[in-house]
């Protein structure tokens, strides 16, 4: 059997569909000494904003059944550091397609960051995050309203000719009009879903566990929710989807692709096991064999 794991995402060939999700894989350097980054389908780099950000106060992490809450709050060194220093250094370590993950607090910030990312040869994709739940202006505000999502996509589209993905929030009553708005404004694809907004309380101290009060829930518990969102958007849009949420095994990757994803991001699984992505990539051909799948791309959206 062939066991061809390659997929084509907005015109770029990935040797496999497995992508570490933004915010759960640093900038890639951290794991460079632990496994060959060339094995990954692509890498979605840590979310980046126009200005450097410290992020939220600690504690930023709270454990839950089936996952964790995080309220990191977009800690990053800023877009200039990404394009002039970090991305070229990651590129020197591997040939893997690199995804710049961009966040902003205004349309202009999104636009300027996308322009700068566009000019950076080391970056292959731009993923615009309109779904961060952990910052108090911007972020998710743009991802919960079709008009605002359209405006960000329009601005980003003008700013870059690189393949443009918009990362959507699950914290909405209906994702379909938001997904369609992004598609109509020229997005090349969509990444979904970001974290679900959540909260935990320290019952002894009678206060929230997270200094930010609320945080984004991620982890294996998200898989069925993400599958539903991906499937729903796959039925409503024509552009390719990157499925994200709770993926922790090769079987989960296949399930996500059957739901409609062309590629799959692995997030929290890397926080439990930093070698989760290469382990999933190792398992994929074996699971394909068991399921009688010759070309992984053949199963995209079959359900």
């Amino acid at each position: 059997m062939v066991n061809d794991t390659s997929v084509t995402l907005a015109g770029i060939r990935l040797q496999n569909p497995v992508i570490p999700a933004s915010g759960t894989f640093g900038f890639g350097f951290e794991m460079a000494g632990c496994f060959d980054l060339n094995r990954l389908g692509a890498i979605s780099l840590k979310g980046t904003t126009l200005e450097p950000r410290f992020g939220n106060p600690t504690p930023r992490i709270a454990e839950c059944s089936g996952g964790l809450l995080n309220a990191v709050g977009l800690q990053n060194p800023g877009i200039d550091a990404l394009v002039s220093d970090i991305a070229p250094r990651v590129r020197a370590l591997c040939k893997t397609p690199l995804i710049a993950n961009i966040s902003g607090f205004s349309l202009d910030e999104y636009g300027i960051c996308c322009e700068k990312a566009d000019q950076c040869e080391a970056l292959d994709f731009v993923e615009v995050n309109i779904s961060c739940p952990n910052v108090h202006q911007g972020g998710m505000v743009f991802g919960t309203d079709p008009k605002a999502a359209a405006a960000v996509t329009r601005r980003a589209r003008k700013a870059t000719s690189k393949p443009l993905f918009i990362k959507l929030s699950p914290n909405v009553t209906d994702i379909v009009p938001i997904a369609r708005a992004c598609e109509e404004e020229g997005a090349d694809g969509l990444t979904l879903i970001n974290t679900l907004l959540g909260m935990r309380i320290d019952i002894r101290r009678r206060r929230p566990v997270l200094a930010n009060r609320t945080g984004g829930f991620s982890g294996p518990a998200l898989l069925p929710i993400a599958l539903r969102f991906v499937n729903q958007v796959a039925k409503a849009c024509r552009i390719p989807l990157i499925g994200c949420g709770g993926v922790a095994s090769a079987e989960d990757v296949i399930e996500m692709m059957m739901a409609g994803a062309t590629a799959v991001q692995v997030g929290s699984a890397s926080l439990h096991d930093p070698l989760a992505c290469p382990a999933i990539i190792d398992q994929l051909p074996k699971v394909m064999e068991q399921l009688g799948i010759e070309h992984l791309k053949d199963i995209i959206g079959i359900v």
């Binding site: 410290f54 504690p59 930023r60 294996p220 439990h272």
Partner: protein, 245 residues
């Protein structure tokens, strides 16, 4: 960072709520002093970061305090159990920084990593003085082990039930040890109280609630004089001049 599958050799209380766990493996378990491991816990998604108290090629000793469900689950494990660890995490103490005489200051469970630090400093021929602070006599950890390595150990208890009556800051002022470099590990209020009393030739091992322990999630960041740094990845040990306290 390495993944290591270990066998639990022993796991028993050494003080109220504090356990000593020894693990064996046929893979290399050596750590630099001050590094930590992330231990997978049954029924929990996140691993638990535990400092390495002592490491040898085939053996690891962890001292840990039960503070919640995860560490309680670890305390319930029986010898013979298999454990999945990420080893060799963090930067560890800089033993080269000490030229002649070291001062080690530990508070509570923060004494744990001082065991190997003391061993390695002594092996490098350094004089070692240790100040240990605890709430009460029953909580005292590692005094005998450190003395057996040839260190001069002073214990302070907050309730006066053993040794110097007071905190490690009181012990520091009473003992007035001679040293050219200091290493500190303990609760944050203790470290902040020691900070103005020590010169720039000192370093502090920090702790924060962690997500991954491997630098991926940015969950344990602190502000330093050189910008944000992850305690798990660029730390947990920071030179005094990096801490903007």
């Amino acid at each position: 960072m390495e993944k290591r599958y270990c066998t639990l050799e022993s796991n028993s209380p050494v003080a109220p709520g504090v356990y000593r766990m020894t693990l064996s493996s046929d893979q290399d378990l050596r750590h630099r002093c001050g590094q930590f491991v992330e231990v997978a816990v049954p029924e929990k998604f996140l691993r638990r970061p535990l400092s390495v108290s002592l490491s040898q090629a085939d053996r690891l000793t962890l001292l840990y305090k039960v503070v919640g469900g995860g560490t309680a689950a670890l305390a319930a494990l029986q010898p013979g159990a298999g454990l999945d660890l990420l080893t060799g995490l963090g930067n560890g103490f800089d033993i080269e920084a000490c030229r002649n005489a070291a001062l080690l200051i530990g508070g509570g469970i923060g004494a744990a990593p001082l065991h190997q630090l003391c061993r390695d400093l002594r092996a490098a021929g350094r004089q070692v003085t240790v100040l240990l602070g605890f709430n009460t006599a029953s909580e005292i950890l590692l005094r005998d082990e450190l003395e057996a390595l040839g260190a001069t150990v002073h214990v302070a208890t907050a309730d006066g039930s053993k040794g110097i009556h007071g905190l490690v800051t009181d012990a520091l002022q009473q003992v007035r040890p001679t040293f050219d470099y200091a290493y500190v590990c303990g609760p944050m209020p203790m470290m902040r109280a020691l900070y103005p009393l020590l010169s720039e030739t000192s370093e502090f091992s920090l702790e924060e609630r962690m997500g991954c322990g491997t630098g991926l999630c940015f969950g344990c960041t602190i502000q330093t004089t050189e910008g944000p740094r992850r305690i798990c990845h660029e730390g947990p040990v920071f030179k005094k001049n990096l801490l903007p306290w």
